[in-house]
Amino acid sequence: MHRLANPTRFLRLCNMVKPWAMAITLLCLATGLYFSLFKSPPDYQQSDTVRIMYVHVPAAWMAMFCYSAMALSSAAALIWGHLVAQLIAKATAPIGASFTFLALITGSLWGKPMWGTWWVWDARLTSVLILFFLYLGFIVLHDAFDDTSRGARAASILAVVGAVNVPIIKFSVDWWNTLHQPASVVKLDGPAIHSSMLVPLLLMACGYTGFYLWMLIVRMRAEFNSNKIRAIRIRQANR
């Protein structure tokens, strides 16, 4: 793990992974969309609105996955001071915020025809909204200080503390009475969803994961460049 803290080694790994991430994204999203829109059947209760699940659920999964990745790398950055870990958290934040925004918007578009309302202040929806604000807080805090290392440290602390929200989101549907349905895929006794719907859902989830990796690699390279630019500018200013 610590071997990857070396930026050169990490970027070499990124260059190797990038074409695979691109291929997985394009292949899974193309087949996932085909199955989601043409092959999967309408639900016996929710009719065709169930198709929103294929963009909503993977976005919600990625929102939590990205936050977990951001919190873990922030913790690594705080403990060991690794630049790579700090940049992973910084590069992940806008991607995770976008997935969270998507989960909220697509959930709202699914909620209106099924629940009769765009929004309700129940535990699941509110905790995901808090997650979105945590992402925004991380992004804003990172650039709020003239001293970038202080900004990174403050944002990392926020990410680590905010990680408590991730299990709350996951178990909110079990702990409280919510309008949101309980888990039907990630369950101890196996998924309670028919394979005709599970396959497109998993394909879309794979596509979203590949997309996250692809974007993470692109943004990491850009963040490394930004760091080098800042270092050159400081050197020039001190001459």
Binding site: S47, D48, S98, L102, R219, A222, Q236
Partner: protein, 59 residues
């Protein structure tokens, strides 16, 4: 033609389903474009700065 309209109508829920897919596509494409532009901008800036450093070192 009627088959296409039936498909787009999505049992009367097309007004909710298509915006969900459309917004997802727009946001994902938005991240893709933003990230690529971010990378290109930093690559260009780094190249310019490196050239400046090399020129001043020679001078």
């Amino acid at each position: 033609m009627s088959q296409l309209f039936t498909f787009l109508d999505m049992s009367g829920y097309g007004n909710f389903i298509w915006p969900a897919f459309g917004i997802s596509a727009i946001i994902l494409l938005g991240i893709l474009v933003h990230s690529q532009r971010f990378l290109k901008r930093t690559e260009k800036e780094l190249e310019t700065l490196n050239n400046q450093v090399n020129t001043s070192d020679i001078a």
